[in-house]
Symmetry: C2
Subunit: 415 residues, 2 copies
Amino acid sequence: MSRNLMLMMRSLETGKQSMASVLARYRMTLIERTKNHLGYPYNLDFEYGALAQLQHFSINNLGDPFIESNYGVHSREFEVGVLDWFARLWELEKNEYWGYITNCGTEGNLHGILVGREVHPDGILYASRDSHYSVFKAARMYRMECEKVDTLVSGEIDCENFKAKLLLHREKPAIINVNIGTTVKGAVDDLDLVIQTLEETGFSHDRFYIHCDGALFGLMMPFVKRAPKVTFKKPIGSVSVSGHKFVGCPMPCGVQITRLEHINALSRNVEYLASRDATIMGSRNGHAPIFLWYTLNKKGYRGFQKEVQKCLRNAHYLKDRLRDAGIGAMLNELSSTVVLERPHDEEFIRKWQLACQGNIAHVVVMPNVTVEKIDKFLNELIAERATWYSDDGKNQSPCVASDIGKENCLCSLHK
Amino acid sequence: MSRNLMLMMRSLETGKQSMASVLARYRMTLIERTKNHLGYPYNLDFEYGALAQLQHFSINNLGDPFIESNYGVHSREFEVGVLDWFARLWELEKNEYWGYITNCGTEGNLHGILVGREVHPDGILYASRDSHYSVFKAARMYRMECEKVDTLVSGEIDCENFKAKLLLHREKPAIINVNIGTTVKGAVDDLDLVIQTLEETGFSHDRFYIHCDGALFGLMMPFVKRAPKVTFKKPIGSVSVSGHKFVGCPMPCGVQITRLEHINALSRNVEYLASRDATIMGSRNGHAPIFLWYTLNKKGYRGFQKEVQKCLRNAHYLKDRLRDAGIGAMLNELSSTVVLERPHDEEFIRKWQLACQGNIAHVVVMPNVTVEKIDKFLNELIAERATWYSDDGKNQSPCVASDIGKENCLCSLHK
């Protein structure tokens, strides 16, 4: 945004006549930025015109979704409808689950880990290095001991290292964050192997709590053939997923599902409330559940399945074309996150809004990322790259073998 | 909402053809419920038609408002504009403050208290019994020692009791939650007296941290003549205020302002966001700052002042008319929250969406609560009361002397 527009915004009350023009210009910026976006797992392709009429209301789902409060302008029925849908997806019976619509993936992780800590007050939190930063923030907020576990090159949790760490703290219960799609590499931790590792090291089911951070992939995996299942039939405690990612929503939101028995334990201690206080936030956005309800209803299981397949297809196309062009790239099985070398030019990164870490960047192929958009990105990248790197070996593309594996790197040493 | 509508909502995917009719019926419910609402401090009177065009965009202010992230579809400029406005209101220089737009009052309290704990890791949290429940939730989440301080009948913190509690824990720093308007009685804690009490018991400024929970009144007080000032010129650490309360907003949100020096101690860099992690939530609703910016710009200081005066005037009118009708009621100076005896009939409470505690209920007079609405409420209450209570003394209205003081009670004993 231009410095000029920024100054206008900051000078509140000095330019009332220009509010409309500020908004009109802002809208143009949003259109432009939405068009070029590739780096974050947000489905920017949605149409909620039918819900515009609801913007006139202050919709607030105060407190617990399952307990009516006195504030009447809420959307609890939509919220419970959405929660039922997800509980069914992850195979937890209606009378055995509890959940709520959160403000974002972070709130889901904060809640899941808090429930884990209340179930096991002296438990140690285990999470792989590639876990979302909110997991480590939770450990700090909640004053929990935390063990960072190594990852494989793919980004998955290294269960050998996990085992070694568990053996160091045998006497204390374990609270484990399992990634159903890591933020950077889109790697899916092997839930079955995590459980097997716990069992093999002598942790009975009542001595561990597993929170599954399914921010993006929690909603995609169920529609991928051959994908290992996230289900409450396995000994897990909670699953969270973002609503603004695969579903698509104007503002961040998420879904949190846990076992009712845990929530009863958590809220028993709260004596200062007439209603029970089991959510992290008190006032909650009542519009978000309606957006989610609308899309779930409109697309249905089959609609999501088709979109997931399209994303995976397009992700493979991108990865293949990158490698054809001599650019190192990795695509985890079950994932639509294509990891590639970090582009040399910051301007290029900003234009395509790529999230970067060290030598790598990624493109998350969401339903709004079409083949046309991919082609445009690729053509630009290939053209720019020719100006960044020279054939004489002076300026070379970075080696990304340590990030994505030798077999995926195409630097001068590994190609 | 009818059981029928509820069932339809729960049976996702079985009634696609009826989505439009579900929404139309839901809209009617919202209109009805908005009309009769009195109990919560939400200004339901807003008009954001000019912003409807922005609902097509997934606006997300990831991470820190002052640090550009790679995700381009954000509203940081609006957010910083709003923050600047509030920093000026509470007298903290631009280069000395940090803040962000939160999801609700609870997030503001969670953040303020977390900053306090990071500044004083072994500090004890002091909060009056009438503090919002999120304050005690924070203590539990953060594993902090917490002392509940008594309140006066008005709902204000009892500084005699505060002093006694401070003296018990002289060796540890103090983190204090000061209420700028309590939830139930709208009582404003005496900030100056709190500071004086700390000083008198030997707490130097570097051994305490004050968070001001200004959920509703943080924004009203600056416009009330003779009100004690909330300002960073006093030794306070943070102030939070809700955005969906006095300002009015379709979804909950809030403003958090703190001193930059504290945040530098708290935050960690998050590389893949190209930002630092100093907020509680990661992804953040980018629409909320635009709603706030729009209203601040449209109404300005003078507009707010007028609205505050109208609310206080109408609150006095309601309190006087209640007492004229022989109904016990209390209105704290500086407040627009009228406390009255809890109506006998649950149906009546639900209709007017009154928040209740024990024998008392309250009406929060917001800009959308007109004299006409107050009259309608009063007339209904007086008519219903005649059927609840009889003159023969068999069924009597409850005594509320212990809740709001003998002088405000009009039960058979105290009138």
